[in-house]
């Protein structure tokens, strides 16, 4: 079975530009979460989407936005890029039943964004 996929693998942008990152969850998973991992740090939570609705948002500026599509894939958009946005962006999918006790998050390989 295919795992979580992300595209593109690598991306180079300049300051002020906009970027869109894409994620396809594992088949059957209805939730997608986004994390930012700056070099030398642990991942930081950006968003979670479940059934196309935003379920949670981390401490990130409004330049960061996301959405989830009817097929549960997701896009992360970042506007007005800053040098500090350079990072590995990770997507994770999970099943998330109604009676959630624990739903393991499965991570994709990430998109490496470099802002020059």
């Amino acid at each position: 079975d295919a795992g979580v996929t992300q595209s593109p693998t690598h991306l180079i942008k300049t300051r002020g530009q906009q970027v869109t990152l894409r994620c396809s969850p594992i088949s059957g998973h209805k939730s997608v979460s986004w994390y930012q991992q700056v070099l030398g740090q642990g991942p930081q939570f950006i968003f979670q989407y479940y059934e196309k609705e935003e379920r949670g948002r981390g401490n990130f500026p409004d330049r960061f936005s996301a959405r989830q599509f009817p097929n549960y894939s997701s896009e992360l958009n970042v506007n007005a890029l800053l040098l500090g946005d350079s990072a590995l962006y990770l997507c994770a999918s999970s099943w998330e039943g109604l009676r959630r006790s624990y739903n393991e998050q499965f991570f994709g390989p990430g998109t490496r964004l470099t802002v020059l």
């Binding site: 740090q41 379920r55 009676r99 390989p109």
Partner: protein, 117 residues
């Protein structure tokens, strides 16, 4: 807000030996999960082991086991019979338990483990 602290930036262990990675956390929650994730070089993050806070018994997965001390808010990972394939960044992570809330993982800064011959 929750915080997770990993005080060992780097560790090294010889093949077949045992190593323990440390993690402490801070939370006011009573119901939560703790995790150890492994991120090999240029490869994706995978779950190593999980612990539910309400369980007193320490979790074990083959060569990996944890020492969970809830009162001390400590959660260490022991890797027995270390293998070259264990070389990776290891992240300790926290997730609050609850229905209808975000499944948000809070990570520590990681420990880089090098297994040597």
């Amino acid at each position: 807000a929750q915080t997770v602290t990993q005080s060992q930036p780097e560790m090294s262990v010889q093949e077949a030996e045992t190593v323990t990675l440390s993690c402490t956390y801070d939370t006011s929650e009573n119901n939560y999960y703790l995790f150890w994730y492994k991120q090999p070089p240029s490869r994706q993050m995978i779950l190593v082991i999980r612990q539910e806070a309400y369980k007193q018994q320490n979790a074990t997965e083959n060569r990996f086991s944890v020492n969970f001390q809830k009162a001390a808010k400590s959660f260490s990972l022991k890797i027995s019979d270390s293998q070259l394939g264990d070389t990776a960044m290891y992240f300790c992570a926290f997730m609050k338990h609850g229905t209808g809330t975000a499944s948000k993982l809070t990570f520590g800064t990681g420990t880089r483990l090098q297994v040597t011959l």
